[in-house]
Assembly symmetry: C2
Homo-oligomer: 475 residues x 2
């Protein structure tokens, strides 16, 4: 048997062992024949900059189309068109604060991906687990199309398409398609498709459940076939635009950009697009007739189409904004789908929070007032009432609260404050507030400006076809 | 001081120490400021195939625009647009025969380049030194534009532009521009520009000296400036055609090629070009309106323009053939310049040997008869009489012989036979005689068909600008 086939089988078996208690069989969801064919078709690449710890180890893996930044070790894994972005890894000699603990970080943190298959997955590393500061581990895990693994060590998991595991250490879990969890730790659980769940100790517990019928329309996945639905069609239709981007070794910026702004050369820029200061446009982001104000950030797998973002707006990994006008400092969470009509844009006021995995797909003109939080599924003003509140009102929630498919327990004020704090962290980390007179190197928007990419390819034929050579790259 | 500046100074000093006896100062010939600027502009690349031992080590070096194939280690060196082609490295477990000795090869042979600057240099590894079977070393050496280091360990040398050191272990030598030596071993010598010298023990000694005046017209080099002259203009004028080739990650073959033929994706193909079976076209080869018969090979830095090659023709590294018609099994040696008139092509008959570094640049129609050997400088029929002989006549030379600027001592028959043997080796090694029913993998034309290229880039900014990360790549 060819090595790549052995490797696929090995990984699937390991994940199945981990998931035996849940009686879950990964074989039913991975088309290994199709996958194998794709693996020798695309090059992988890694970033070289003076700002990110240069240390890559690639061992017995297939890395087709994947991207790596920051210290990482990939071992017996298949990463297909995935982004492993380690630009928030902890540094040796720093101190990690967790409640009353001050824990020294003894070595530069490393992303370690072992015995895993990641398909079109975004891994970003801002991890919070105080039990493992030097290693950010993804092990015995299969993740499928457009999953986000964000600051979350995972072991023995299956993650469905368009799902997100955020700041959560998970172990032996199955996450259904389009589910989002941010719950610190989770073990031996099956999370239903379309579940949005944010929980922090006894402080708060936010829970939203998409109806099966709505979910099926946007994302449907139940076999070896590719996932289908509006979300999948949306990205598939734009795939060809990325082909041109990946064809060239280098490219000039397709639009002029200010100093201190990073426009990744692996992003797509079309139409009349304007990009402001301190902006970060990550690889595999897609801009078309987009206007991005100062300090905006557009992360991996985001799409901004025919839309205006006033400034300091965050478009988290995989979020899509179409035919919309956004005010200042708006957070659009992971994999959200925010779509106005071409002739009547969706308008979102300053300071709004669009919860992760929110679908706003309007049928009639809609304005979301400033300082609102929205979630779930919104297609008109009626829905907005059932899937949104002012931040002020939400902050006042105590104990239990229920609105349509949303249930909340705990303190709404702490929930909102935690969100605001995180938004501030993201803007700072991305360099949105960077001033030229600053003495430091800035955030991602500044540090990712001057980046070189090395491309790597697998063995083109023979028994090792699709497998990459063993590489160790250090400063 | 930036690391790249320190590195350049370090290398130049080391070479100067080696060359102190010859009172040669490399500083006078290397424009370190110009060189430094070029080093961060181009990516390097290495080949991955199932047939070539995969082992690369890149340590504290700048590799701008260079290409690597086969086991190699580059350490404290600057390789600018150089080709390090290790596809004839000896294998562990094989036996090397030297006269009565049968010497086992204890490890896979490795190209090691240490403390050296190579500029647009071709290194090919078919080495013959029985004293060092496992290591092919280039150390404390500066080589300049379009030098060929061919099967030759070099230590402490300066090699002028368009010079070739062929199957010769050299130590503490200076080789003038456009000089060619193949003399087994050479130490502490200065070889004048335009010297062609082939010597083998007491068997034969061929020596040709270009006149200064002619040489200056074709290649002139005497200071930090770039070399000038017809040869340099010729390649500079075609540089832009290579830019398109290096811009894309992959490319489709610009012409259809038969099975068992290798057309390197980093070659230029223009006009009406036809490529036959078992042909090898190497990287940085240039074809324009070229017709290549079965088993031809066109090596690195070769140009075939508006010419027909009947079959089994060898165009050695750096040779150029323009407006010519070549019969079968013709050998055109390293860096030769063979140019007919566009309306009256130069015709070369079957089985001819064009000595390395021959300039045939005709003013009137010229036919070189079959089975001739030619050398030196030929512009018309008159020159041919003084710079060529039939192989038969040459084979009869015994003791001493002189013809214009050529002197020969020894046995002409042995000289011609050695050449023929080498031509046969080259054709075999390149797979020119490969038959589909063969049970082996063939030669370079077959093994280099299915090759992947990984690109690598230097640090884009900071103190390490232009230096490449440390890499270790193994199977």
């Amino acid at each position: 048997m060819k090595k790549i086939e052995t490797l696929i089988k090995r990984i699937i078996q390991r994940v199945n062992i981990n998931l035996r208690e849940l009686e879950f069989d990964v074989n039913l969801y991975i088309d290994d024949v199709h996958l194998k064919c794709r693996l020798s078709k695309f090059y992988a690449f890694y970033g070289v900059t003076p700002y990110h710890k240069l240390s890559f180890k690639f061992i017995n893996s297939s890395l087709a189309g994947s991207y790596f930044l920051g210290k990482s070790k990939i071992d017996h894994s298949i990463l297909y068109k995935s982004d492993i972005r380690g630009d928030e890894l902890k540094s040796k000699g720093s101190t990690y604060r967790y409640k009353d603990y001050e824990i020294p970080v003894y070595d530069d943190e490393e992303i370690q991906i072992t015995d895993s298959i990641l398909i079109k997955t975004l891994v970003h590393n801002f991890s919070h687990d105080p039990e493992s500061l030097e290693i950010f581990h993804i092990k015995n895990t299969v993740s499928t199309h457009f999953t986000n693994i964000h600051g979350s060590s995972t072991e023995g998991c299956f993650l469905g398409p368009f799902s997100t595991v955020d700041l959560t250490t998970i172990h032996d879990c199955v996450l259904g398609e389009f589910s989002y969890i941010q719950v610190e730790e989770l073990a031996h659980k099956k999370v239903n498709p379309g579940t949005i769940w944010v929980c922090y100790k006894d402080k708060f517990d936010f829970h939203y459940q998409f109806s099966k019928e709505i979910l099926k329309k946007y994302i449907d996945f139940d076999s070896k076939n590719l996932p289908i639905g509006i979300l999948m069609d949306f990205v598939e239709n734009r795939k060809v635009d990325f082909e041109n981007v990946f064809k060239f070794i280098n490219r000039k910026n397709p639009v002029s950009i200010p100093k201190n702004t990073a426009l990744d050369r692996y992003s797509v820029v079309r139409g009349q697009t304007r990009i402001g200061k301190n902006v970060l446009v990550a690889q595999r982001a897609y801009l078309e007739d987009a206007s991005l104000g100062k300090g905006a950030n557009v992360q991996e797998n985001c799409y901004i189409i025919n839309s205006h973002l006033e400034g300091y707006d965050i478009t988290a990994h995989g979020a899509k904004i179409i035919n919309s006008r956004l005010g200042e400092k708006i957070f659009v969470g992971f994999n959200s789908f925010v779509r106005g009509k071409i002739d009547k844009p969706l308008i979102i006021g300053n300071g709004c929070i669009v919860m992760p995995h929110t679908i706003i797909d309007i049928e009639e003109p809609l304005i979301i007032p400033s300082d609102f939080i929205v979630w779930g599924y919104i297609k008109n003003a009626e829905d907005l009432k059932l899937n949104g509140m002012s931040l002020e009102s939400f902050s006042k929630i105590r104990n239990e609260f229920k609105l349509e498919n949303m249930k909340f327990k705990g303190n709404g004020g702490i929930f909102i404050d935690a969100f605001k704090e995180r938004i501030d962290h993201i803007l700072h980390a991305n360099g949105a507030f960077f001033d030229i007179s600053d003495n430091n190197a800035g955030g991602h928007a500044q540090k990712n400006q001057n980046i070189s990419f090395n491309t790597i390819q697998p063995y083109p034929s023979g028994d090792l076809k699709g497998i990459y050579p063993t590489m160790e790259i250090t400063p």
